[in-house]
């Protein structure tokens, strides 16, 4: 039966029951009450918006929701009628008569009047979310108030830190432990500031220095060492979730990531004030005077784990990267869990979704860019030359293609003929005669069948091949003029992510592509007009399909005193100045948490435990400070002394508290404060994974102290490499080349170095302030049996024998001095000597590397 006739009969069949439907009286209430909750102002689930006719006709990306006159072809009707799944509405089917209303309305042309849901309660709720204000009194939470310098308790202490600590101890009737002996102090200072053990000569120098400022001199000497930056820079890299690869499936290499690592190390060594350090990392490209270091620093924002898809076609990933930046800034810098407010207002802290989307807007303009590390003119000349080469070679390449075409056609046909019959049929049927299924099949085959240049060469007639070779030679000649690649830094700047060029590893999502016509401008701002950031939106429920109003940039309101503008556009107009404003806000000295969080971090690393133990969470769900006044005093001091980290080290380490013994205790102390929360003695710390490795190398004498540059790849077994074969691992034979400090070991997100993992390397994808410390048998297995450890132990034994000579007592003594910075006790010496009567120094040296004392800072 002809189609037309069926359609006619169909509509006749229902015509009898049809009545004239009123949009306002029948349809509007139905849509508003049953559909708009999910497809209206609050959200547009499945990207379907039914607020007005235009939106309904746009549909949910699969064509119009309504086909006026044809209910059977209208998805809206099909879903409510149960003809398509899922049946709508989700919260319960419509009644049969309601379905009939919609059917009749559509078949009568789906007339529409006005906008729906404008006065719906949902819209009001949404507006409320967007205009959320900090509740009254919320700023009273200790961390949200600006720290003020408290008075130092007057208890006769010479040092403010001791004055605060002793005041708390006195309240419990406790005293501080006595001072540790000098060798212990020397090792403590070396491990803490450099992450390397002192040599016996260095210990002796300190022990024999009886001048009153011997300790201060030691600290100054260590702070001047370039290895200080390697140690303290690594702490910051935990916060910055630094890695050398992308992560996820392909785990692509980031060939320039190391420049950021070196920048961090150098910044610590130079004692770059923390406010500057932070500003460079957030907005190095916006600081007016650009320097290579500042451009490199912007990698901080780009250190997120990345899927190998381009953001312009997959904005869902871009939102994830932004979320990661906000989590890092929130926890790592501000000590608040802003990222909790992505989908709803924070459950515990006075942080709204509005705060989250203000911050998102502040970062929104960012684009990934490889900053050239050359003078601008040079970079431009390089780009021009590259374009010139491409332009010159294009006609030659086109000519080759033309020459190859007849051969390609023949070869392709032959390839098609290898497929099963039904596929051949689809391919060889003329395009216009293919069934819809054959269209799809032929399209797949034709698009994915290629002929390689080698195959073509083999098929080519000699004359044509000769012509091709001539053309290729000409291309090669031109290619020879290709300039050497200029060095670049991975970083960010402002731009329009929708126009970013494809980079290595970019892969468009299927069915997606660039929609240029909708966007004006270019990827990076150039020309005379100042840069304008692309619009960003409030997302209700965190759902990208539920866009709310466009959001303006800004800060976390509860921490904001309103004195910093949300954007500080630079004079050159190339960026929005939003990130710069964010940095200025954080480092103004008036921000309630920035200085506290950093002062607490520095304290944590020196004293083994933060004054606030949840380093990254100063909110209600974090731990309260054990010494709130001390923390505030330190935060104010930090800012007033110019945000100098080295000054903080000097300050904290010069306290008597830092110099206490860790091994002293009385019954009273143990009974009153077993966990040493009040710091009545020094708190020992298990060395971090990297420092365990560095210490083994330093003690064995194998450590290669070369600083900086591209990462090294310690040798891994084929078996371990097989567990993750994507990305790069330039396996390097074990030897001095890879015996560099651990901070220079390649950080592959998909394959952390097993040695590090065993010793609690934090996950490299999330910002981390405080590392876990666990004690598990695999650590014992590694230190006892790992081939690399055994090799270093053997080197250590040789070193001891060389340096101490054949005498057993001298050897035991030397081993202790090298590994733990002290002489053995009489009992240890006796045990060691006895052992060496039947065993070798190789055995003994290996045992020393396994001593508890060896992997603890105490």
């Amino acid at each position: 039966m002809p189609r037309l006739l069926i359609a006619l009969l169909g509509s006749l069949a229902v015509f009898g029951q049809e009545r004239v439907v009123s949009f306002v009286h029948d349809v509007k209430p139905l849509l508003e009450n049953r559909c708009l909750k999910c497809h209206g102002p609050a959200m547009q689930l499945g990207k379907l918006d039914l607020r007005d006719r235009a939106a309904a006709m746009k549909g949910a990306g699969k064509g119009a929701a309504l086909v006026p006159g044809d209910p059977e072809k209208s998805p809206l009707y099909r879903h409510v009628a149960g003809l398509d799944k899922p049946q709508m509405p989700m919260d319960g089917k419509l009644k049969a008569e309601e379905v009939a209303v919609l059917r009749d309305w559509i078949s009568q042309g789906a007339k529409w009047e006005g906008v729906l849901g404008a006065s719906a309660a949902g819209a009001r709720d949404l507006k409320k979310m967007e205009t959320w204000m900090v509740p009254a009194g919320a700023k009273e939470q200790w961390a949200f108030k600006r720290p003020e310098r408290p008075a130092v308790p007057a208890n006769g202490s010479a040092h403010p830190v001791d004055a605060f600590l002793r005041a708390a101890l006195a309240g419990r009737g406790l005293t501080q432990a006595p001072k540790a002996d000098k060798p212990t102090l020397a090792r403590r200072a070396y491990l803490d500031l450099l992450g390397l053990p002192p040599t016996p000569a260095e210990v002796r120098e300190f022990v024999e220095d009886s001048s009153p400022n011997a300790w201060a001199k030691l600290i100054d000497r260590l702070l001047a060492s370039p290895h200080y930056g390697e140690r303290w820079g690594r702490h910051w890299m935990d916060v910055a979730r630094y890695a050398d690869s992308n992560g996820y499936e392909h785990d692509f290499d980031r060939p320039n990531a190391w420049r950021y690592r070196d920048y961090v190390i150098q910044s610590f060594n130079k004692d770059t004030p923390f406010d500057v350090f932070l500003t460079e990392q957030l907005a190095g490209d916006e600081m007016g005077e650009r320097s290579y270091d500042r451009l490199i620093a912007t990698a901080f924002l780009r250190n997120y784990a990345k899927v190998g898809f381009r953001e312009k076609d997959n904005p869902q990933f871009r939102y994830e990267y932004l979320d990661d930046m906000i989590a890092t800034l929130g926890r790592g810098v501000m000590g608040v869990t802003v990222q909790c407010a992505r989908c709803h207002n924070h459950k515990f802290d006075p942080i709204g979704q509005a705060d989250y989307y203000r911050l998102q807007a502040s970062l929104w303009g960012y684009v990934e860019v490889d900053h050239p590390l050359t003078p601008e003119a040079e970079a431009k000349a390089y780009a021009a030359k590259m374009a010139f080469i491409a332009e010159q070679t294009k006609p030659l390449r086109d000519e080759i293609k033309l020459l190859e075409q007849p051969y390609r056609d023949v070869l392709l046909t032959a390839k098609y003929k290898k497929w099963p019959e039904h596929i051949q049929k689809a391919v060889f049927t003329p395009e216009k005669d293919r069934t819809p299924g054959q269209v799809l099949l032929a399209n797949q085959i034709i698009r994915t069948t290629a002929v390689s240049p080698v195959e073509i060469d083999r098929a080519m007639a000699a004359a044509d091949l000769a012509k091709k070779r001539t053309l290729e030679a000409r291309i090669r000649e031109i290619e020879k003029t290709r300039p050497k690649a200029i060095p670049v830094a991975m970083g960010v700047t402002d731009g329009d992510y929708r126009l970013t060029p494809d980079g290595a590893g970019d892969e468009p999502a299927p069915g997606k592509g660039i929609t240029r016509e909708k966007i004006e401008g270019s990827f990076l701002a150039d020309g005379t007009k100042p840069y304008v950031a692309p619009p960003s939106h409030f997302l209700h429920g965190g759902d990208q399909g539920s866009k709310g109003s466009e959001t303006a940039p800004g800060f976390v309101a509860v921490l904001d005193d309103g004195t910093t503008p949300p954007a500080l556009p630079p004079a050159d107009g190339r960026t929005s100045g939003r990130r710069l404003a964010l940095a200025k806000w954080l480092t103004s000295g008036r921000h309630p948490t920035t200085a506290r969080v950093m002062a607490n971090r520095i304290w944590h690393h020196h004293f083994g435990r933060g004054i606030v133990t949840t380093l990254d969470n100063f909110g209600k769900t974090g731990e309260a400070p054990t010494h709130p006044e001390l923390l505030d005093w330190l935060a104010v001091e930090f800012v007033e002394k110019g945000w100098s980290m080295k000054q903080m080290h000097r300050l904290l380490m010069s306290s008597e508290a830092y110099q206490m013994s860790s091994q002293w205790a009385t019954e009273k102390h143990l009974l009153t404060d077993a966990d040493n929360l009040l710091w009545w003695r020094y708190r020992p710390q298990r060395l971090e994974a990297e420092i365990v490795r560095d210490n083994i190398l330093a003690v064995s004498g194998g450590l290669n102290k070369q600083m900086g540059g591209v990462a090294v790849f310690p040798e891994l077994s084929q078996e371990i490499l097989a567990s993750m074969d994507k990305g790069v691992w330039r396996n390097t034979k074990d030897g001095p080349e890879v015996w560099r400090r651990s901070v220079y070991v390649y950080r592959k997100r998909g394959l952390p170095l097993p040695f590090f993992e065993v010793f609690d390397l934090p996950d490299q994808n999330l910002t981390c302030g405080r590392r876990n410390v666990s004690t598990v048998p695999t650590q014992a297995l590694t230190l006892m049996n790992n081939e690399w450890v055994l090799k270093q132990a053997a080197r250590f034994a040789d070193r001891v024998a060389t340096e101490a000579g054949p005498d057993a007592a001298a050897q035991v003594t030397r081993a202790y001095e090298l590994a733990v910075g002290r002489k053995p006790t009489a009992e240890e010496l006796r045990v060691g000597e006895t052992f060496l009567r039947t065993r070798t120094m190789g055995d003994f040296a290996h045992v020393v590397l396994n001593l508890n004392e060896f992997i603890y800072l105490r």
Partner: protein, 485 residues
């Protein structure tokens, strides 16, 4: 603190340890008990009250499952060709998929509908329909509860792997094995509580992040066991170091560390480290014993297909899984399909679903059936949850006429053992097998069900991280009661 419970003074080592922590740390207890001979000689099986992060913990309620064996088929198993028959594909073969809007495929462009090249048949009293790919597993049909409507969130191998292993498609979150060992500890302190054995051809998509402990302590991450040689990396010293020599070193180490302990009153971490060396030492004996499939009878080896080059490799993995289950390991994660050539070494049947799935089913069918038979015979299936899964399903439409592309819209998987009501199929996909349609399940539901069977309420199993009580199931998920008998 109740000071009455504390002994006075701390002249002896024993007393230090009592004072070590708020209450007695388990670590110290273990070490002490070991010292005082309160425990007998150590064997490799059974529960011991030594300490470790894996000390057995009480579930929230009576569990049906005490342990999990997870069989992960990496690459993406096609539902239409295994456990979800779709006659409509034959009827509409060669036509475009109707009524579903734009089909988002992973590679290139969509093709027409493609019928399964495999025949289905009903098995068992429940009449469960299973394709000819799994003749051996099919004999256990009445033990299998097939889920036909698991909907995933990503068509990317790695993200989909992460979703199945951790509930999120992002990198860096604790895996389900970590959660289970965190929640329940392990029944055997001489072996790791969470063991991973991957395909000899290489690790699964996404690599070690699949068994990462994320923000939890490293102790809860999966430990890789090799299916041949020493099971654990660095379990034994390399060639050339005599065992006697090592014993001498360990004895000296213990002596020196204990002397050091005396100098450090109230420091329980040091005692823990001493204890860790003791555990490591015991592990050296117990781990090789646990993977020693050679000690099994020929009949057992044959049951798992060991000896046959096709079934042998996965057979070994399955047999080791049973041995670990017997020894009280809490979570045993096997992977079939590993990095290498994606088309031939994993289930990723882009090129030719018939060839690919025939090969991989042949490699796994007999071993998995053997595992189920063996667990049943030993009474272990009653409290062992076996789960067979993949990262996503595949498309009902063809890729270049013979293959199938990724499809997170629905996948089929099955569970068996502990408390699972077998012989049923739960949920349904649409008539083509494109999208989950009835009783749509998310990975959160799946995880909630697994935890439920293990006696844990998924809303109560939390880990405090950055101010939030984190859950495996985020804020979602419901146990699927229909799966449970």
């Amino acid at each position: 603190m109740d000071t009455n419970k504390l002994p006075k003074g701390f002249a002896s080592r024993r007393n230090f340890l009592f004072e070590a922590g708020q209450g007695l740390s388990g670590v110290a207890l273990a070490w002490m008990l070991g010292q005082d001979g309160a425990l007998g000689a150590t064997a490799c099986g059974g529960t011991e009250m030594v300490t470790s992060p894996f000390l057995p913990k009480k579930p929230h309620f009576a569990p049906r499952a005490k342990r999990v064996i997870s069989l992960f088929m990496s690459g993406g198993v096609s539902q239409m060709d295994t456990f979800d028959p779709k006659p409509a594909l034959t009827k509409y073969a060669g036509q475009p998929l109707p009524g579903k809007g734009d089909v988002v495929v992973r590679q290139g462009h969509p093709g027409p509908l493609m019928p399964s090249p495999f025949q289905f048949q009903k098995y068992g009293q429940g009449g469960l329909e299973i394709s000819e790919l799994f003749p051996h597993v099919a004999k256990h049909a009445d033990s299998l509860a097939v889920i036909r409507s698991l909907k995933g969130r990503s068509n990317d191998h790695v993200m989909a792997h992460y979703e199945l292993s951790s509930g999120t498609i992002r990198m860096g979150w604790p895996s389900v094995g970590s959660w289970v060992t965190y929640g329940l500890g392990s029944e055997n302190q001489n072996l790791p509580g969470f063991v991973v054995i991957y395909d000899a051809r290489g690790g699964p998509f996404g690599g070690p992040s699949n068994w990462s402990a994320g923000y939890m302590p490293a102790a809860y991450q999966g430990t890789i066991f090799r299916s041949a040689g020493d099971p654990i990396f660095d379990l034994k010293p390399p060639q050339g170091v005599a065992e006697e020599q090592m014993k001498g070193r360990l004895a000296l180490l213990e002596q020196l560390n204990k002397m050091d302990l005396e100098k450090n009153p109230g420091n329980s971490e040091l005692a823990a480290r001493i204890s860790a060396y003791e555990l490591a030492f015991r592990m050296q004996g117990c781990a090789p014993e646990a993977v020693n499939v050679e000690s099994e009878s020929d009949a057992t080896k044959k049951l798992y297909g060991i000896g046959d080059p096709i079934t042998g490799p996965f057979g070994r993995q399955c047999l080791i899984a049973r041995r670990l289950a017997e020894r009280g390991v809490r979570f045993i994660q096997l992977y079939h399909g590993g990095l290498g050539n994606q088309n031939t070494d994993t289930w990723d049947a882009h090129g030719n679903v018939k060839e690919n799935h025939t090969q991989h089913a042949a490699e796994t069918d007999l071993p998995i059936a053997g595992l189920l038979t063996d667990l049943k015979a030993r009474g272990l299936l009653e409290d062992t949850l076996v789960i067979w899964q993949s990262e996503f399903g595949r498309m009902p439409i063809s890729q270049r006429g013979l293959g199938r592309d990724h499809n997170p819209g629905t996948q089929s998987l099955w569970m068996a053992g502990a408390g699972i009501r077998g012989g049923q199929a739960v949920g349904a996909s649409d008539e083509f097998g494109y999208l989950a349609e009835q009783q749509v399940m998310t990975v959160h539901d799946l995880h909630a069900t697994m935890l439920h069977l293990l006696g844990m309420d998924h809303t109560k199993l939390t880990f405090s991280y950055q101010g939030r009580q984190m859950r495996l199931t985020d804020v979602y998920g419901d146990p699927v009661k229909q799966l449970i008998s």
